[in-house]
């Protein structure tokens, strides 16, 4: 056994060195910055921290960020599932074009993405005249921020699901349909449970990016305090004004939101695991009862 062990795995020191390297990397580049955010935010005490968060402008920034995410995430969830479904299940003209287009937001710089919207909807843009005639403001207003957020987050769900759905094939869905399930029932009871982890992961990525996006949003926002600042933009303003407690307090909110999503994911995973283990135990008992 010991022989086999040394035959199929690396030497002990290689294993320890690699593990240490990975852990060190995580510590230096992830854990330390994360802790320092909370450390700086709470450096002048809890009261100042709380004050920095309930302040009007900070509160508005948090609200705007949540609104943008609340619109972008469901929108891209629906779009992502639809696009992945179409690409993984059907052959049609323009399929490769669609696949390329989905990747566009990844390949275009977020600043350029913001500028595209300025060119399109800005007061001197193509649709600017028509928009101002009808009294619709998109740039330097909430719609612009939502549009920019939707744009930069739009590949995550689809990109996560396409390889997964292609690998799983459609036998299970067809089996469901032959058994009399409607298209929706097959999707709800068979497809969705099979892709749920990929979907959850896509949503977490989408959400993180929607809340944290800086470049594209910065271009279309106009930085109007208390109106068109999202948390990342607000953090930058506070930081430039040497208001470190305020800047880090807002930053800590972003970090906290990220931690909460991760905690939810872990909890769901843990519950699934328990269900599965329970089934294993019951099966084992049945097997023993049989013998």
């Amino acid at each position: 056994m010991a022989m086999q062990h040394t035959l199929t795995t690396e030497r002990a020191w290689v294993r320890y060195a690699l593990t240490t390297l990975a852990l060190l990397f995580l510590l230096v580049f992830l854990l330390v910055p994360l802790v320092s955010v909370f450390w700086e935010a709470l450096a002048k005490g809890w009261d100042l921290y709380a004050d920095a968060l309930v302040e009007y402008e900070a509160w508005q920034a948090i609200k705007l960020t949540l609104i943008a995410a609340a619109i972008a995430v469901p929108l891209n969830l629906v779009f992502g599932v639809a696009a992945a479904w179409a690409i993984a299940r059907f052959e049609f003209r323009g399929k490769s074009l669609l696949t390329t287009l989905i990747d566009l937001p990844f390949s275009v710089s977020p600043v350029v993405a913001g500028l595209m919207y300025i060119l399109l909807f800005g007061s001197h843009g193509w649709l600017g005249g028509w928009l101002s005639e009808h009294n619709i403001q998109i740039i330097f207003a909430i719609p612009g921020i939502v549009l920019a957020t939707v744009f930069v987050t739009f590949p995550f769900v689809a990109r996560e699901l396409i390889p997964l759905m292609q690998a799983q094939g459609q036998d299970e869905e067809q089996a469901a349909i032959v058994l009399g399930a409607s298209g929706f029932a097959a999707f709800w009871h068979v497809t969705l449970p099979n892709i749920k982890w990929g979907l959850l992961y896509g949503v977490i990525l989408t959400n993180a990016r929607a809340m944290g996006e800086f470049g594209a949003v910065s271009v279309v926002s106009g930085h109007i305090r208390g109106e068109t600042n999202t948390i990342p933009l607000h953090v930058e303003i506070l930081y430039n004004e040497y208001n470190f407690v305020g800047a880090f307090a807002c930053a800590s909110i972003l970090a906290l939101l990220a931690l909460v999503t991760l905690a939810v994911k872990t909890l769901v995973e843990w519950r699934m695991e328990r269900q599965h283990e329970a089934s294993l135990v019951r099966t084992q008992q049945a097997r023993e009862a049989l013998v």
Partner: protein, 355 residues
């Protein structure tokens, strides 16, 4: 329920999967679609199920045109080659699926569903696995669950796509017999696809042999085996020796040898006689022989002794003798012998089939 296929055509791009195929499956029979991969058998099965749309032709269930009926309304049970069990559901939920997705009005009560599912699980002898997930089952168990699941909705037709294709030889044999018995009990019209001639011949009431998108022969297993209609069927159903020659005056002539044929065989210069190894006998005299050669190889493991006879020119001839006959002849390597057919199929002018 009987199934009738009328002039079904199906193309995938430039590839013709089915070319005007017509077929009738009698009510209650177990029919095998047999053929090499790419012959169109799976496509035909999927068209019967409604998983694939034919380019032309009709599918009739009990005489009623069902070509455009949606899969969900065809009342067919379909067993997929790779089982297609719902991996996130327990065995119980898998089998219950077809019943529990029914609209509320048609759905049996919880207790009824439970009763029916457990009854089916008992029938496939896996009721003790109700709580398990598909990943915990062996291949054979998965296939039985897939079958139970398809039977839960009480289909009027059962369609199986290479049901035992992914299983190892032993399990395959057991399941084969088990399917045969099950069909005897339930008498549900069943069609199954296979590329394994032994499986098709052993399990089914009738066999449909297919090649290149059309039907080569339909018949009872023994009939197909004894009287193959085409060279393709002959070669596909098992090992066979080929003798090239010509037919005239009621004789098949191969080199210096001639063999009398049944009356009525049409003459021709390009004829091929197909003889199975066990339809050949070895003899020390030339009478009735088709070839002569020397014994080059003797393989004596199993109930039959396999002997390779190599003629002076041409390919080796494979002969299968019973142990008794082998001892009686007292064959030794290098012996000069004659090979005589007990039974042969002669096709005149047919192209030579390579499989």
């Amino acid at each position: 329920m009987s199934i009738e296929i009328r002039n079904i055509e199906k193309r995938f791009g430039n590839f013709t999967a089915l070319d005007k195929v017509s077929l009738k499956v009698e009510s209650g029979e177990l029919l095998a679609l047999l053929g090499p991969s790419g012959c169109g058998k799976t496509t035909l099965l999927r068209i019967i199920a409604g998983l694939e749309k034919p380019d032309a032709g009709q599918v009739l269930f009990s005489g009623a045109d069902s070509t455009h009926t949606h899969v969900a309304e065809r009342q067919v049970g379909f067993v997929f080659q790779h089982y297609a069990l719902f991996r996130h559901m327990t065995v119980f939920d898998n089998v219950a699926f077809g019943l529990s997705v029914r609209p509320r009005k048609l759905r049996p009560s919880r207790e009824e569903i439970r009763e029916r599912v457990m009854k089916l699980l008992k029938m496939v002898q896996l009721d003790w696995l109700a709580d398990a997930y598909p990943a915990q089952l062996s291949g054979g168990q998965r296939q039985r669950i897939a079958l139970a699941r398809s039977l839960a909705v009480e289909p009027s037709v059962l369609l199986l796509d290479e049901p035992f294709g992914a299983l190892d030889a032993k399990v395959r044999k057991d399941l084969r017999r088990w399917l045969r018995d099950l069909h005897h009990e339930m008498h549900i019209t069943s069609v199954f696809v296979t590329h394994d001639q032994e499986e098709a011949l052993e399990v089914s009431d009738r066999v449909v042999v297919m090649d290149h998108g059309h039907i080569e022969q339909i018949g009872r297993p023994d009939d197909i085996y004894e009287n193959p209609a085409t060279p393709f069927v002959t070669r596909f159903l098992g090992d066979v020796n080929l003798f090239h020659g010509r037919v005239d005056g009621g004789h098949f002539t191969h080199g210096d040898f001639a063999h009398a044929l049944e009356a009525g065989t049409v003459g021709g210069d390009q004829a091929v006689a197909y003889v199975r190894p066990h339809d050949l006998d070895i003899s020390r005299v030339a009478q009735g022989a088709l070839a002569a050669g020397s014994v080059e190889h003797i393989h004596a493991v199993g109930p039959l002794v396999r002997i390779e006879v190599v003629p002076d020119s041409g390919e080796a001839i494979e002969v299968a003798l019973t142990k008794e006959r082998y001892r009686e002849l007292g064959l030794m390597l290098g012996d000069k012998v004659f090979v005589a057919p007990k039974k042969l199929s002669v096709f005149v002018g047919a192209q030579d089939y390579a499989i």
